[in-house]
């Protein structure tokens, strides 16, 4: 009997979540952005080293799905970038919260969790990243907006420890992008 109740609760939870995702999501946008990263420091072996310098660049293509009647949107996409160990492809999942909207300007805060691969022949390694920061958007007409964002980003490739001593970086990315409403 309890098991039956529990299954029903799971089904109900799934229905609620699916409803949230399918019914209340609206206003899809596509985001294309490029960025360069100012590095703050890195981890060498187990030591944190503060050493500012250019740390990489990349391009991101993503989908932004707003939740109806909510300042929250869900972002998913893919980015190709290079870091100290070489090139990488990361898949991003993020959430964005609109703090302030005035005329064509919108200021938001975003948090991203990225997972993917550092690109090496024969032995591709896991790479992951977390990023948090502000995002400024300027609308031009109904469908197009420019975006300027920054933040703090931590990227690590733990498997690279075997080949080189520097296996993670902490950076400040400066990102320029274009958002297109579909």
């Amino acid at each position: 009997m309890n098991k039956y109740k529990s299954m029903n609760s799971s089904k109900l939870l799934s229905i609620v979540l699916l409803s949230l995702l399918s019914c209340n999501l609206s206003a899809q946008k596509i985001e294309i952005a490029i960025w360069g990263s100012q590095g703050l420091g890195y981890q060498m072996h187990d030591n944190n080293i503060y050493e500012p310098g250019f740390s990489g660049a990349g391009i991101r293509i993503g989908r932004i799905q707003s939740i109806a009647n909510s300042p929250i949107s869900i972002n998913n996409g893919i980015e190709y970038s290079f870091q100290g160990w070489g090139s990488q492809i990361l898949f991003n999942n993020g959430i964005q919260y609109q703090f302030w909207v005035h005329g064509p300007f919108t200021i938001s805060g975003s948090a991203y969790f990225l997972n993917g691969f550092a690109l090496f022949r024969e032995n591709t390694l896991y790479a992951g990243s977390i990023e948090i920061g502000p995002d400024v958007e300027y609308k031009i007409g109904e469908r197009i907006a420019f975006q300027l964002s920054s933040g703090i980003k931590y990227t690590a490739c733990p498997g690279y420890k075997k080949y080189g001593p520097i296996w993670s970086y902490t950076d400040v990315p400066i990102r320029l992008g274009l958002k297109l409403r579909l």
Partner: protein, 242 residues
């Protein structure tokens, strides 16, 4: 396409002796002989395209402790592609001010980028060593007054002897040698060409076999030994160890 073009070769395990000290920062891998005094001429090295820079540490460590010992700096490149920042080596005098003279070297695409750096900053370097590489027409340095050393492996299928010959007019006039005993002394404004018998493209570093490369008939160990020997002869010929 991005995946294929962005994949780098990982280094094999590097066996380092305790005669050198290897340190690293965001921009460089620095190999320093473990003794109080060493040559005032350093070697700055550009790695091959899509090759992890650690792949050259063991080979260059051996050169670091040959002769009167040298400081070696391997430049780390964005996305492991030297062509994306060919001029990065120009900061070497600022970042290592205690080294009096610098000689530049590059493997494969790193060599192509090294030629571009010499083309832009000809007075910065006292010599240029090209390992399986040649300049592009836009980096023509046939007017350069310093010495150039061009080395390739006999079975290199990625950079053929014909390619080197047909691009030789972008380098100072050629002197071809067949054995190390023929190595000329003090040949400024000349390019000395040497082919390592039995060698190939990938054996200048330690990153496994390279796609499209020929099969070497000597060991990697032997090719690295030949490389160290000719680099030392070159340094001796110019008294750079003094």
């Amino acid at each position: 396409m991005l995946f294929a073009s962005g994949c780098s070769y990982l280094p094999e395990v590097q066996n380092l002796s305790d005669t050198v000290h290897v340190e690293e920062n965001r921009d460089y891998i620095i190999i320093t002989p473990n003794r109080e005094w060493y040559s005032m001429t350093g070697l700055v090295f550009y790695p091959g395209g899509n090759v992890d820079p650690h792949s050259y540490v063991e080979a260059l460590s051996r050169f670091a402790v040959s002769g009167l010992m040298h400081q070696i700096v391997i430049v780390k490149m964005p996305a492991n592609l030297a062509i994306l920042n060919a001029e990065k080596g120009k900061w070497i005098y600022d970042d290592f001010s205690y080294v009096k003279r610098w000689v530049l070297a590059g493997h494969s695409l790193g060599g192509v980028s090294a030629c571009r750096l010499v083309h832009e900053y000809p007075s910065f370097f006292f010599g240029l060593a090209l390992l399986a590489a040649y300049p592009q027409e836009s980096s023509d340095i046939n007017w350069w007054s310093q010495t150039v050393l061009s080395i390739r492996g006999e079975h290199d299928a990625l950079v053929s002897e014909d390619e080197l010959d047909s691009n030789a007019n972008f380098l100072p006039p050629a002197i071809k040698i067949n054995t190390l005993e023929e190595f000329p002394m003090n040949q400024d404004s000349k390019t000395v060409y040497y082919t390592i018998p039995g060698g190939n493209h990938a054996y200048f570093g330690q990153y496994g076999d390279q796609k499209g490369d020929g099969e070497a008939t000597i060991t990697r160990e032997k090719q690295i030994k030949e490389l160290v020997n000719i680099l030392q002869l070159w340094f001796d010929a110019y008294n750079w160890d003094e």
